[in-house]
């Protein structure tokens, strides 16, 4: 086997490995096709072209209720892991500690804001965790409907999302005030840091929404195929 042919197979195999679940079948089709191309150079350019499949995000189609249920459980479990209490508790301890030894009024206001943000974030995490626990203990039919509702809710500005956004900005303003009162050089680059953080959050939200949108479409197709009433 020539070096070009080997490279082509390596590239195509890597594409299969890293393709999104719904595109794996296509990537595999492209890999197998490589073996039917006579010219090594054509096989290599074919394999290079298959890299483009990596940028197409596609959820694997749902075939059965069991698959759907497994997806729902995995989704809830992932969200549960993300809602940890540890970070708001750490923020709270840090704010209380700093508030005790605050230097001036600016520092005190800043620490109070961080404290408020930690409290609101902690409470919202607690409520979210309890809600997710209820979701996990639901029976299959209920779980599937709740899962669908959960994904639909991601497209609306919920109370929880509002709380998280509010806490984020209060926390950042509080940090800015404390850094400012300490005369730390870090506060000068703070607006840049804040801009970067906001852009990252916006990017993450847009990405998450497009992923959830695809998933929701997939679920709706599955539900309409399996239950014409769509309930």
């Amino acid at each position: 086997m020539t070096l070009l042919r080997r490279l082509a197979l390596r590239i195509s195999t890597a594409v299969v490995k890293y393709a999104s679940p719904g595109c794996k079948e296509w990537a595999l089709g492209m890999l197998h096709e490589t073996e039917f191309i006579e010219s090594d150079l054509s096989a290599f350019t074919w394999a290079l072209g298959s890299i483009r499949v990596l940028v197409i995000r596609r959820e694997a189609p749902i075939h059965s209720l069991a698959e759907f249920s497994a997806m729902a459980s995995e989704y809830v479990e992932r969200k549960r892991t993300r809602t940890s209490y540890s970070s708001p508790i750490m923020m709270l301890i840090q704010a209380v500690g700093k508030l005790t030894f605050a230097r001036d009024s600016g520092d005190r206001i800043g620490c109070a804001m961080v404290l408020l943000a930690s409290l609101s974030l902690g409470i919202s995490q607690l409520l979210e965790r309890r809600r997710l626990d209820r979701l996990l203990s639901a029976d299959l039919d209920e779980e599937l409907l709740l899962y669908k509702k959960e994904l639909q809710a991601a497209f609306r500005l919920s109370f929880r999302m509002g709380t998280v956004i509010f806490s984020f900005f209060v926390y950042m303003t509080g940090m800015f005030l404390t850094l400012h009162s300490y005369g730390s050089a870090a506060y000068r680059s703070f607006p840049w840091f804040l801009g970067l953080m906001v852009s990252m959050v916006v990017f993450a939200v847009i990405y998450r929404r497009s992923e959830d949108g695809r998933l929701l479409k997939n679920i709706e197709v599955f539900l309409s195929d399996n239950n014409p009433s769509g309930s």
Partner: protein, 100 residues
Amino acid sequence: MKIRKSPQTNLVLAEFLQCEKEWKYGYDISRSTGLKSGTLYPILIRLAEVGMLETSWEAAQTGRPPRHMYKLTRNGLKYARSLVSEATVSAFARPLVGLG
């Protein structure tokens, strides 16, 4: 979801119309349309996503992996025919517009 009307998509659909009932392989479509795999496969994926293309795996032959095959669905055929006739009408209309 809608299919973007592009010359490349038209080429692929026209290729499927050559033998409507036959399954086609990716490499064969690529060779006859002149499209690279990186252009062809996103089109095929989109067509499958909107239910215009069905896919199947060919039974494996000894020593060779199974091939992925593609065929237009009834909806796909209807769409392809309408698109191709649209393209033919516009191709005929163009010189007439020039004359006016």
